[in-house]
C-alpha cells in the first residue's frame, strides 16, 4: 500500500504519542525497581532514580536473609488465591448455569436476587459487624476467602458465556438419560472451558491483589497476605528493623538499606504474579470486552 507523506507523518506522530503513554505506564515501576537496587547512601545522596547507576543488592540481601515473613505471606496469598479461585468458579458456574437456561422457571427471580447485590449494599459497618461478630470470622483464614466467592459480576459474565451453548446439546443429553448435574459436568463444562478459565483469572487477580479483607479482619501475624504485608511496611519500617539482627556484623545502622529493602520486598511480592497475569492477558481482554458493560 502506498501512503502519502502526510499520512506517514501522521503515523509517526501517533507512534510518538503512544510511546509517551506507554512510558508513563512503566516508569513508576522502573522507579521501584531501580530503588530496590540502590544502596542507602546513594539514596540519601542522590535520591531515587529511574536507572540504578551503581547496582547494589543489599536491599534484597536484607529481605532474603530473613525470609520467614515474606514466605509466610506468600503462603497465605497462594492458599487464598488457589482455594478462592477454585471454589469461586464452582460456586459461580453453578449459579450462572440455571440463569442462562431459558427453561428454568425461577430465572428472573434468581437474576434479580444476584443483581440486587450489585445495586445496593448494607455498607461497610453492618458488613463488618455481621462478619466479625455474628459469623465470628475474625482472624480466621476463611474470612480471606468466603466474602468474595459469590460475585454478581462474575456470575453474569459466566451466564453470557453459557448462553452461547446450544440448548439442543442439553436436550440430547437429557434424552440420553443424564440428570442436570451430569449434563453440567459432561456437556457444559467441557464446552465452556475457555470461559471458565477467563473468569478463574479474574477471581485469582481479585484474591491475589486483596488487602481489604485483611485490613478489616486480620490481626494475627501468621494470616497476613502479601498485599497487606506491603501496606503495613509502607506505614512503618519496623519489619526492616526486626531483620537487623540478620545483617552481617559491622554494618552501620545508618547505611541499613531500609528504602531499598522496602522496594525490594515490593518487587519480590508482585514480580511472579505480574508475569502470570501478563501472560494470560488475552483472556482478561476477552472477559472485559464481553462483560464490560455489565461491570
Amino acid at each position: 500500500m502506498v501512503s502519502s507523506p502526510t499520512a506517514r507523518l501522521g503515523r509517526i506522530f501517533i507512534h510518538l504519542f503512544m510511546l509517551l503513554i506507554v512510558s508513563l505506564c512503566i516508569i513508576p515501576l522502573m522507579a521501584v525497581f531501580s530503588t530496590s537496587l540502590t544502596s542507602e547512601s546513594d539514596i540519601a545522596q542522590h535520591g531515587y532514580s529511574l536507572i540504578p547507576l551503581r547496582p547494589d543488592t543489599t536491599g534484597y540481601e536484607l529481605v532474603l536473609k530473613n525470609p520467614q515473613t515474606l514466605l509466610r505471606a506468600y503462603g497465605v496469598s497462594i492458599l487464598t488465591t488457589l482455594v478462592g479461585t477454585l471454589v469461586g468458579i464452582v460456586v459461580g458456574a453453578l449459579c450462572a448455569w440455571p440463569l442462562s437456561r431459558p427453561d428454568y422457571p425461577h430465572r428472573k427471580k434468581l437474576a434479580f436476587f444476584v443483581m440486587f447485590t450489585m445495586l445496593f449494599n448494607g455498607g461497610l459497618i453492618p458488613t463488618y459487624l455481621v462478619t466479625a461478630n455474628l459469623l465470628q470470622l475474625k482472624d480466621n483464614i476463611l474470612v480471606l476467602i468466603l466474602p468474595y466467592l459469590a460475585n454478581a459480576w462474575f456470575i453474569f459474565l459466566l451466564r453470557t458465556f453459557f448462553q452461547t451453548i446450544p440448548m439442543s446439546l442439553v436436550e440430547a443429553a437429557r434424552i440420553d438419560g443424564a440428570d442436570e448435574f451430569l449434563t453440567f459436568r459432561k456437556v457444559v463444562v467441557p464446552l465452556a472451558t475457555p470461559a471458565l478459565a477467563t473468569v478463574a483469572l479474574f477471581y485469582s487477580l481479585q484474591y491475589w491483589n486483596d488487602w481489604y479483607l485483611a485490613l478489616l479482619y486480620i490481626n494475627t501475624e501468621s494470616l497476613v497476605p502479601l498485599q497487606y504485608l506491603l501496606s503495613r511496611m509502607m506505614s512503618n519500617l519496623d519489619f526492616i528493623s526486626q531483620n537487623v539482627s540478620a545483617m552481617p556484623a559491622g554494618v552501620n545502622m545508618s547505611s541499613l538499606p531500609r528504602e531499598s529493602a522496602r522496594m525490594a520486598m515490593c518487587l519480590l511480592a508482585i514480580g511472579p504474579m505480574l508475569f502470570v497475569f501478563g501472560y494470560f492477558q488475552k483472556y482478561f481482554v476477552r472477559g472485559i470486552t464481553l462483560g464490560a458493560v455489565k461491570g
Binding site: I21, I26, V32, L124, L129, V130, Q227, M263, I270, V293
Partner: protein, 288 residues
Amino acid sequence: MSLPAILLFLLFNYLPMGGIILAFKDFRYDLGILASDWVGWSNFEFFFTSQDAWLILRNTIGLNLIFLAVGLTLSVFVALLLNELRGNRLVKTYQTIMFFPYFLSWVVVSYAFYAFLSTRSGILNQLFHVLGLESVSWYTEAHYWPFILTFAAVWKGLGYWTVIFYAALIAIDQDYYEAAAIDGAGKLRVVLSVTLPMLLPIILVMALLQVGRILNADFGLFWFLPMQVGMLYETTQVIDTYVYRALSVTGDVGIGAATSLFQSTVGLLLIWGANLLVRRVHRESALF
C-alpha cells in the same frame, strides 16, 4: 444448583443489608445491633450538619466526575489512535504495556508513587531541583492531590477502558469507511462523521453507568496513595474512607452507618436512573 451462591449472598450481602437499621441507632458494642437504642434520624443530622459532610461529598462526587471525564476522553482518544495503526505489530505491544497497571494493587501503586513524590528523595523533586525550582512537600499540601489522584486513577484504568473502546471500534462495519472514502472524506472527517458517532452509544453507556456509581469511591486509591496523612484530608477524604475511619478510628459507628446508608440509597436511585437512560440509548447494554 445455585444454592451455594444464594447462601453466600445471603450471609455476606443480604444479612448486612438488614444491618442498615444501625444508621438509626446509638450503637454500643456491649448491646449489639438489635439491643442498641433507637435514635431516629439524629445520626444523619449529625453527619449533614458537620463540616465534614460538604467536604466529603464534594471530594467524592467531584473527583469521580474528573476521573470519568479525563479517563473517558483519554481512552477514547488512545483507542482512536490505535485504530489508525490497525494491523501494525506495535498495537499489541502498546495494549499489553497499557494493561500492566491494571494488574497492580493500589498498595503497589502507592509504592511507585512514593518513589516520585517523596519530599526528600523523590524523583519529581530531583527534577525540580535540576530545573532550578523549589522542591514541593507533596504529602503535606492538599491542593496538589486532586491532580495526583486523577493521574493515578486514569493511569491505572487506561488499559482497561481502551480495550473496551478499541473492541467497539474494531466491530464497526468496514462498509461505512469505504462509503466515506468514495464520498472523498478526509481522515478527520471520517473520524468525526463515522467513527465517533458509531462509538457514541458505548461511550454514553459507560459514562452513565459510572455516573450511577458516582458516590462510590475507590477505597484503595484514597486510602493508600495519600498515606492517610491528616493534612491531606481536605482533598482526599471521601465517603468510603470516612466510613472506614468511623469504624476503626473514631468509633462513630452510628454516624458511619448513616453515611453508608445515604451512599447506598442515593447510589441505588442513581444507578436505576442511569439504567433507564441506558435502555433508551442501547437496549442490550442495560443492566436490567
